[in-house]
């Protein structure tokens, strides 16, 4: 299992960051895809922005962007009203069980 998957399994969303050129390496990997330098693993900000969203039955799924770089698809839960593109959301849970899973709520809720 990769470092990324091990951390996700523990509930930590981490990303690789190059020790040499400081770029975030996403999707995560053991070396930088710009300069091939070594990476360190660091937590990703919990805050994200909705880039786009849709619904399947009662599940709202969205493309969320962290730190203006990392984009993932996740589910948006505990919604009380309308959501908008550009809305600030927070990652409330992540896990790994064969595949990654990201769960968001509206920030401040």
């Amino acid at each position: 299992m990769s470092t990324f998957e091990q951390e996700m399994k523990k509930g930590n969303f981490v990303c690789s960051e190059c020790q040499k050129c400081n770029k975030l390496v996403w999707p995560p990997n053991d070396f930088c895809n710009t300069c091939f330098g070594k990476v360190r693993w660091r937590p990703v900000s919990k805050l994200a922005t909705v880039v786009e969203f849709s619904r399947k039955e009662n599940t709202v799924f969205c493309v969320a962007e962290f730190e203006k770089t990392i984009r993932v698809m996740g589910s948006l839960e505990s919604l009380s009203g309308q959501i908008k593109v550009g809305e600030k959301i927070k990652l409330v849970k992540c896990e790994f069980n064969g595949k990654e899973r990201f769960i968001f709520q509206i920030a401040g809720s």
């Binding site: 990324f4 786009e52 799924f61 984009r71 698809m73 589910s75 595949k99 899973r101 990201f102």
Partner: protein, 369 residues
């Protein structure tokens, strides 16, 4: 660089039959030999297969089943654009002089392991293709006012075109209402906005200008090629209202063939979902950005078959590795004037756009008679 022609083809009907993939490939190759009377097995320098099914060493197996002992044989795998990419690999062997005659055969079974992409971490739990297509659909609707009816028109048009394609999976016309009332898969797409996995195979013969005359009097020349892969992760598509990989591949193909989008008479484009055709006609330069749905609606209203005359993926079915090659076969038939009820009158220049991995990779070919 030698000129390269498509000098023959063979195809099977697309079905849900539970046949071994090597049998599908061998059937398309057999049909190619039957259609190309002067071709014998020893003429074939290279046999390249296209499929997402890597469970068998299919290029060697297909060669053996069809009595070929090639110099070059291997598989090309790149999910849904394996077919067009395989044709380009064969083109490169011939253009470089490493081969004079190359056989390209693509196939897939309805239960292909390539249907759901398992690597892309950025998709989280939403790995089925309906999720990425919903995101593109929603973005295009939001920015350009594209409607659910616009999506249904793409599907209605392509299913209607497929009625004249004897190899298509679907043999049924669907009204705009039928499509709009088909099962909601997400808020934005319905079942009949999606292409259908099926079993099928398609083969083409590529030949160098030196030997082409031996096999056909009506060669179709590949004059433009563009390929672009922007990522392997769906979420790295910067803008979900456009397909960057297609735009860049098309620019390269137009440049290589010294053609412009306005000179394309007929095109097969990768309508894996209804929204794809709307965005592709924009990014290939056939319609102004944002006008893709209007362009498709006009084709539907006037029964113009310029885009996806064989019925596209929506009408023909989508056996992944076979799709790009089936698209090429349609353009060959169109440019030879042999497309019967599907014929676009006076077609001299054709285009194929084949795409994979949630629009992150595209291949464009331009062909001329």
């Amino acid at each position: 660089m030698k000129n390269v022609a498509i000098s023959g083809f063979g195809i099977t009907k697309f079905t849900r039959d539970d046949l071994p993939i090597e049998s599908l490939m061998a059937s398309a190759v057999k049909s190619l030999f039957v259609n190309t009377p002067n071709l014998v097995q020893k003429d074939v320098d290279a046999i390249l297969t296209a499929t997402s099914d890597s469970s068998k060493y299919l290029s060697s197996i297909t060669a053996e089943l069809t009595g070929i002992t090639p110099k070059i044989s291997h598989n090309v795998e790149s999910l849904c654009n394996s077919g067009a990419n395989c044709a380009i690999s064969a083109f490169a062997y011939i253009a470089s002089g490493l081969a004079d005659v190359a056989l390209v055969v693509g196939a897939e079974r309805f239960d292909s392991p390539g249907l759901i992409l398992e690597w892309d971490k950025s998709r989280g739990q939403f790995r089925h293709p309906i999720y990425w297509s919903s995101i593109f659909t929603k973005s295009h609707m939001r920015r350009y006012g594209t409607t659910k009816e616009d999506l249904a028109i793409v599907s209605a048009k392509n299913h209607k075109n497929a009625l004249a394609n004897p190899y298509a999976y679907f043999e049924k016309e669907f009204s705009i209402n039928d499509i709009m009332r088909s099962k909601n898969l997400t808020e934005d797409i319905r079942l009949l906005d999606c292409s259908y996995p099926c079993s099928g195979s398609a083969a083409i013969l590529l030949t160098s200008e030196d030997v082409t005359k031996r096999f056909t009097d009506c060669p179709i020349w590949i004059t433009g090629i563009g390929q672009r892969t922007v990522s392997a992760s769906f979420t790295k598509n910067h803008d979900f209202t456009a397909i960057q990989s297609t735009r860049e591949a098309a620019n390269d193909a137009y440049k290589m063939s010294s053609k412009e989008s306005s000179e394309i008479d007929v095109a097969e484009v990768h309508d894996a979902f209804s929204i794809c055709e709307i965005i592709e006609v924009e990014d290939l330069g056939f319609a102004i950005k944002g006008n893709g749905s209007k362009y498709v609606r006009e084709m539907y209203d006037t029964q113009n078959r310029r885009i996806n005359p064989r019925g596209g993926l929506l009408g023909s079915g989508h056996p992944l590795g076979a799709t790009g090659i089936a698209q090429i076969i349609e353009i060959v038939q169109q440019l030879r004037g042999e497309a019967k009820k599907r014929q676009v009158e006076g077609a001299d220049v054709g285009l194929v756009q084949n795409m994979s991995a949630a629009a992150t990779s595209s291949t464009v070919l331009i062909m001329q008679s």
